[in-house]
Symmetry: C2
Subunit: 433 residues, 2 copies
């Protein structure tokens, strides 16, 4: 089934490539070379990479081809958002302050995939400190448009077939939104499921490492390697119970995005799902301001060194979005914001259990990727689920009026990540319909 | 009032030293030199420091003495546990893997004190990766005994009058226990109140930067600087409502420790407090195992690089306490442990509000610091409050049968840190009798 694709192995999904390598119809070296060729052809345009170590990657591929099976990710190249430290490559965190910085150790989410046989291809472009100020990356579907952020390079590289797997991080909407804009599958786990060592701390309340790939089965594979848990391929759910959750931001969704949700809901119902609506409780309306206060309060303190000693190298975007919020936020506001989040998390747990929802269906972003590279788009359909610590996944679905990808997002109860992937595997098949 | 002490400024508390500097009766340089003399006399015995930069500290003191008032901590030297990064000194994390490592940036809790005029004197000894495997530090009250851990050097240096202020971190009992063993005031804030950037991640669920000093007013000063919030000196509480909380571990407390709690309770009642008992709800009994599972699960993944690539340099203590637990813990156990913690945190919030407790009174440690340097003592009276994200403080109180300090611990409702310091300022006065 994979054989026709072996002429273009860079287009294989991770799980498919793994099967081909296991079957002997593909080598780690051939897959890597195909990715490198694609990068060579496209990097001048898409600019997804902050650094690549071709020599090290080739040496690793040769060693894997010559040796025994190393684990779940044997021979699969992956990209790492440049806000996560790796042992052998620089870590620039999207800031000129860190030019040439070499942390010298692998973060948790890098070390475990490497131990499972993955090949570290390079660091992907992040916005400055995983916030708003953009890097040079362009959307591979239209280079006049943003790839989204802050995991810009990971989404663009995976969407452009330059690498089958990549790591991102999400504090507001930094995995799901760029994944949707670039037409890939993006997954944010439940808060605390993936180790945060080696991640440059932004806001400890919400920073969550996430995954990018081109199929749900690929996400499941990488998740198992990152978490060092037994791998189980997703088992497509049967007749899941799905709640359309429009949120207070529904009016910000474009007509095409609203139509995509409606169409997905119809398709799900037709395929046997029980589809209902969920209106969030009124107190959830406070989470937007609360999220902003906590991010600002924590961020301005976590970047005190950079602001104090290298302030001239910090962008105006960071000052406007984070520092200025954090500097005026009081401890009382910060406490109230944390308490609201705690209360809403408990309430949401109860709602999911009482109403028996397997997943919420909600937009991945407001619209197609916007024009221009100066702004990375709005995270209004993402911060809620980050704040609530819930696992979420975006699946590419339709094309918008400008021919750009529009995704749909599924969100599950906190800690029910494996069950979310089962629903997503089912939804992926239904939406491909 | 401070004048008689100026002959030995290293014995001044931080707030007293600050008043003396502001009044012109003490300079930053004189205070620093007094600390350096004390260190020179005692370091060969106590071994509290992983590194000291005398030249840089002297230059900073001279600049502060020559310039205008810089902020809350103008001219006060402080020590930083060597699990937190600083710009100008090495970061060894208590592990030979990191010999010579220089992270090059200040963590959040270092940058903010520096901006407030504090002088970074040096890095204090931590156990390996802020876990159990001890460093060379000895208890200043009896060099044949452990200073406790993991913030061993910070507690010993403050207790030995080598520095008035120091930072530690607590994941189980790593601030409160060594502070109690070394006869100092140790404070762990509510989880998430202090920025974690620059802290080598151990377990993101619980890692909390904490403070060491020799008086409650000093803790309040450093807390305000670290949090970048307005400083308010603690206002001793009036007739606080205090609940003796013996916990399931009461049987592990020595007779002297149990007597200290009883004596403190009597003193508090005599001074006007309303003192009652609190038995924790039965489900809290599961938190010990839950805490261990989460620590192991997160720790083994966060140190995957060190374990995979430098495993021969990782101690057997780390393997026994963390890696072996984390390797066998399942995701189901990890989820259940997190869920139990969430439920108990909500329950505890409710108990504190409904019963109107200002603070819980509970042992700081099981006993005096144990003999020997191979083990850093038991955290059974600490992990609960860390898990529950509650602010806690230990105050030195009596001497045990071996002449070693025994402290008492006060614990407040989550986020009521300022109120805890008000109760602690009152208790400090009452216990001084």
């Amino acid at each position: 089934m994979d054989a026709p694709l072996l002429a273009a192995p860079e287009r294989l999904g991770a799980a498919a490539a793994r099967r081909a390598i296991a079957a002997g119809s593909l080598t780690a070296t051939a897959l890597l070379e195909a990715c490198l060729e694609r990068i060579a052809a496209r990097n001048g345009t898409v600019a997804a990479w902050a650094s690549i170590d071709i020599k090290a990657a080739r040496a690793q591929a040769r060693a894997l081809d010559a040796g025994p099976e190393q684990g779940l990710l044997h021979g699969l190249p992956f990209g790492v958002k440049d806000i996560i430290d790796t042992a052998d490559q620089p870590a620039g965190y999207g800031s000129p302050i860190y030019t040439g910085h070499r942390p010298g150790r692998d973060g948790a989410t890098v070390a475990s995939p490497l131990a499972a046989g993955a090949i570290l291809l390079g660091k992907t472009v992040t916005t400055e400190f995983a916030n708003r100020h953009p890097g040079p990356t362009r959307n591979p579907h239209d280079v006049g448009r943003t790839p989204g952020g802050s995991s810009s390079g990971s989404a663009a590289a995976v969407g452009d077939f330059q690498v089958p797997l990549a790591l991102g991080t999400q504090t507001g909407g930094s995995v799901l939104r760029p994944a949707a804009y670039c037409g890939v599958v993006g997954f944010k786990p439940s808060f605390q499921h993936f180790g945060n060592s080696g991640v440059r701390t932004n806001t400890e309340a919400y920073d969550t490492v996430g995954l990018m790939a081109r199929a749900v089965e690929d996400i499941a594979l990488l998740r198992a390697a990152v978490m060092e848990i037994p791998h189980r391929a997703p088992v497509p759910a049967t007749a899941p119970r799905i709640a359309i959750t429009r949120t207070a931001h529904w009016g910000d969704a474009s007509a095409a995005t609203q139509a995509a949700i409606a169409e997905a809901a119809r398709a799900f119902a037709a395929a046997g799902a029980i589809v209902t609506d969920l209106d969030l409780p009124p107190e959830f309306a406070g989470l937007r301001a609360a999220h902003r206060v906590v991010c600002g309060f924590e961020s301005v303190r976590n970047y005190a060194d950079e602001l104090n000693r290298s302030g001239h190298l910090v962008s105006q975007d960071f000052r406007d979005e984070r520092a200025s919020v954090g500097e005026v936020a009081t401890l009382a506001q910060f406490r109230a914001a944390i308490r609201l989040g705690n209360a809403c998390r408990a309430r949401m747990d109860a709602i999911m259990v009482e109403q028996g929802f397997d997943a919420l269906l909600t937009p991945s972003a407001t619209d197609e990727a916007p024009l221009g590279l100066a702004h990375t788009g709005q995270p209004v359909f993402n911060y809620l689920w980050t704040n609530l610590a819930m696992p979420c996944i975006t699946l590419p679905f339709v094309k918008g009026p400008n021919g750009m990808p529009i995704g749909v997002q599924l969100v599950a109860r906190r800690h029910e990540d494996a069950s979310l992937l089962d629903v997503a595997a089912w939804a992926e098949r239904v939406l491909a319909g």
